[in-house]
């Protein structure tokens, strides 16, 4: 396992997906980024690692700080840790080489790391705060604190954000949010427009930042799956699975086969639930209220069966370290099968209606277009990426149990417009229906959970799951048993980090009234990126 042009010793993490870890120097940090890009790989996540006191191999305490990056290639995921030279030795803040020139999506992740951990990308073009809106002091770094004795933080006044100003004849601004008109999450959009045409959109997010990653370090590793499942409520299954995978990987635990199959069953049901909701909302945003009424009814049917079978409408807290909370018997399996048939029949009818509706297609086609070349350069990922020819899907690229027995067919499209994102959703609904039937038919017997033994030594684990929106990546670092197996750092990465900046490009040249439609076609998470 290697990155071309780099002589690195990678350690394979014990996980169902191929994930490797290595420590790098500042020079290798940059070479790796360029090498991955040149090979067609992607930046998966970027975050500041654990900070502060740590024990080295010889047992002597020393100050430590790390910057971490994870890359995805067709071979798997690479997690690189770069040790930073502490301020005590250099007299300047913790710095590392800027990755944004290689991977533009790194920019916001770097700004977030600066706000939360006080580590800075050297020479980065955009150094405005991202998550810290002024509500806490600029020199307070929440992830540098000892979770056992958190200081009382003085609340401070919010500060103005220097938006980029577009000037010229007839240019004016429309400011939207953070409280939006619909029942959606908060964020601020600043449009610079001429007439109806959008010249530029600048997003300001971070409004729902609620200290999730600091909270993570206060929880016991076996309990923290609940918080992971609340990073983004619509992706609770994918997050809980990715966190549990990371924990099980750190603990060298293999879960029972049946547990993995049940997790996948829930993941596919979550995918369908969200696609049903979005397909309805997309119809509605194009003034086709019939679509919303029909799809929201199907979604409600779907959630009610989830409640009956798994005990929760969104399947929150159903995935736990070591497995899942409940098994399905023959009656429940039958109920799930019947629902697949009933809902699929209706979705096919609606698909035909959507396809044949000229007014609807007129709104969908060419709106919010992201061409494949731009998508690739900016790192567009997940569902939106696949609609712009970015053919990546963890279930297909690195099929783990039970996807290795499924031959998952990836849904892709090359137009990159709203219509393409709608088409990918329809295709994924039908494919997930097929997967669910196959799972119910072939699920192996056995236990649905096993005990998880926390490690004696400090350990590292990672989880990588294809959620409905895109890949969810979790990087976990645990302390040893002597330190009560504290969570030193847990980074929970949402694909929205990569996709939000692309939305700024997708809207350019479109008209303002199409923004809700284009925005919904991406349906990105605020809470997932605000953390």
């Amino acid at each position: 396992m290697r990155i071309p042009g780099l002589d690195l010793d990678f350690e394979a993490l014990s996980a169902p997906v191929p994930i490797w870890h290595a420590q790098v120097t500042a020079e290798q940090w940059q070479t790796a980024a360029t090498a991955v890009r040149d090979e067609g790989g992607r930046l998966l996540a970027l975050w500041a690692g654990p900070m502060g006191e740590a024990k080295n191999a010889a047992g002597a305490a020393h100050e430590s700080a790390f910057m971490c990056a994870a890359y995805a290639t067709l071979e798997g995921a690479f997690w690189l840790s770069l040790p930073l030279v502490p301020m005590a030795q250099t007299g300047r803040p913790l710095v590392y080489p800027d990755l944004a020139p290689v991977f533009p999506s790194a920019a916001r992740m770097q700004r977030a790391a600066a706000d939360l951990s006080g580590v800075h990308a050297l020479g980065a073009e955009d150094q405005r705060p991202w998550l810290n809106h002024g509500a806490w002091p600029a020199d307070h770094y929440p992830l540098q604190q000892d979770p056992g004795k958190l200081p009382l933080v003085e609340a401070t006044e919010l500060v103005n954000y220097p938006f980029v100003r577009v000037e010229g004849d007839g240019v004016h601004e429309i400011a939207v949010g953070p409280v939006h008109a619909g029942i959606i999450e908060p964020g601020h959009f600043r449009f610079s427009i001429v007439g109806e045409k959008v010249l530029r959109l600048e997003q300001r997010l971070g409004y729902t930042h609620k200290g999730t990653e600091q909270r993570m370090t206060q929880l016991a590793p076996l309990q923290a799956y609940r918080l992971a499942g609340r990073v983004s409520g619509d992706t609770t299954v994918a997050y809980a699975w990715a966190y549990c995978m990371a924990l099980e990987s750190a603990c060298q635990t293999s879960i029972p086969q049946r547990a993995a199959w049940l997790r996948a069953l829930m993941l596919e049901r979550e995918r369908i639930a969200n696609h049903l909701g979005d397909l309805g909302a997309l119809g509605n945003d194009a003034a086709f209220a019939f679509g919303l009424a029909q799809f929201s009814r199907l979604r409600e049917d779907w959630l009610r069966v989830s409640k009956a079978v798994f005990g929760h409408r969104l399947m929150m807290d159903c995935i736990v370290p070591g497995g899942v909370t409940s098994d399905i018997d023959r009656t429940k399996a039958e109920l799930l099968l019947q629902q697949c048939d009933a809902v699929e029949r209706e979705v096919r009818t609606l698909f035909n209606i959507y396809e044949a509706h000229a007014g609807l297609q007129d709104r969908f086609m060419t709106a919010g277009r992201v061409l494949p070349a731009l998508a690739s350069r900016l790192g567009l990922t997940g569902l939106a990426g696949r609609a712009s020819s970015q053919a990546w899907d963890v279930r297909c690229d690195h099929p783990f149990v039970p996807y290795d027995a499924m031959d998952v067919v990836m849904a892709t499209h090359h137009n990159g417009d709203v219509a393409a994102r709608v088409a990918v959703r329809f295709d994924e609904v039908f494919e997930s229906m097929r997967l669910i039937r196959r799972m119910l038919d072939q699920i192996p017997p056995g236990e649905v959970a096993c005990p998880v033994q926390l490690p004696q030594q400090s350990a590292r684990g990672a989880g990588w799951v294809e959620g409905w929106r895109g890949e969810v990546f979790v990087a976990l670092e645990l302390d040893g048993a002597e330190q009560a197996n504290r969570i030193l750092r847990c980074h929970l990465h949402d694909p929205s980090w990569q996709n939000w900046p692309v939305l700024e490009h997708a809207i350019m040249g479109n008209i303002v009234p199409d923004f809700p439609l284009i925005n919904k076609s991406f349906n990105l998470s605020y809470s997932g990126q605000d953390l």
Binding site: L131, H133, A135, W136, H140, P142, L150, V153, A155, L158, P178, V179, A181, G182, I183, I184, E185, P186, G206, Y207, T208, H209, K210, G211, T212, Q214, R215, R226, L227, R230, V231, S232, G233, D234, T236, G277, F290, A293, Q294, S296, R297, R299, E300, L303, K307, R313, L314, M316, T349, L350, N352, I353, A356, H357, A358, S525, Y526, S527, D530
Partner: protein
């Protein structure tokens, strides 16, 4: 084209279910709920939803209230786009410190009777996020709250019950719209 739409509508039929029981209400509950709303407000109940930092789970269930099963608008309750048009604020999430100002301003912009219902465990008591450098905790730490609806997230029927309870309580306490 249009016949396909019509056929699907006809085939689906009316799926709306009875409104939830909120205590001593019987078969005529829907009509009574509407009458109560009229008594209190003299008009339909309008709601402005504010996500003050939730994980989006509560929003999914609030959105579900609009589906044909719950048919919220059929009860004379609707969501509006501005707090200035709202009788009631439905607030979710632990209040993120980054949202505190926006929540206060939304509250200030809301005219009388300015009802506030906190939805979900986080809005009720801070939930799993609690209070920290970035979270002000429960909604009541920032603005006055009339009713809380626990649950993570609370199912749509619980949310509907909570909204009706908040409105009824105002009736009992004798608050009336004047003019």
């Amino acid at each position: 084209m249009i016949w396909k739409v019509v056929r699907q509508i006809a085939k689906t039929g009316i799926r709306t279910e009875a409104a939830p029981d909120i205590g001593a209400i019987d078969a005529a509950q829907a009509a009574r709920i509407q009458q109560e709303l009229l008594d209190i407000l003299g008009q339909a109940l309008t709601i402005r939803e504010v996500d003050a930092g939730s994980c989006n789970g509560c929003e999914l269930e609030i959105n579900a209230l609009g589906n044909p099963y719950y048919n919220l608008e059929g009860l004379g309750i609707k969501f509006v786009a501005s707090p200035r048009h709202a009788d009631l604020l439905l607030v979710t999430g632990p209040v993120a410190c980054n949202m505190e100002t926006a929540l206060r301003r939304t509250y200030e912009a809301t005219p009388w009777p300015k009802l506030v219902v906190a939805v979900g465990d986080c809005a009720c008591d801070g939930g799993i996020f609690g209070e920290s450098y970035a979270s002000c905790g429960r909604v009541a730490n920032v603005i006055p709250v009339d009713e809380v609806i626990p649950g993570c997230p609370p199912p749509p029927l619980d949310i509907l019950r909570g909204i009706l309870k908040a409105v009824r309580r105002r009736v009992k306490s004798g608050a009336r719209v004047d003019g």
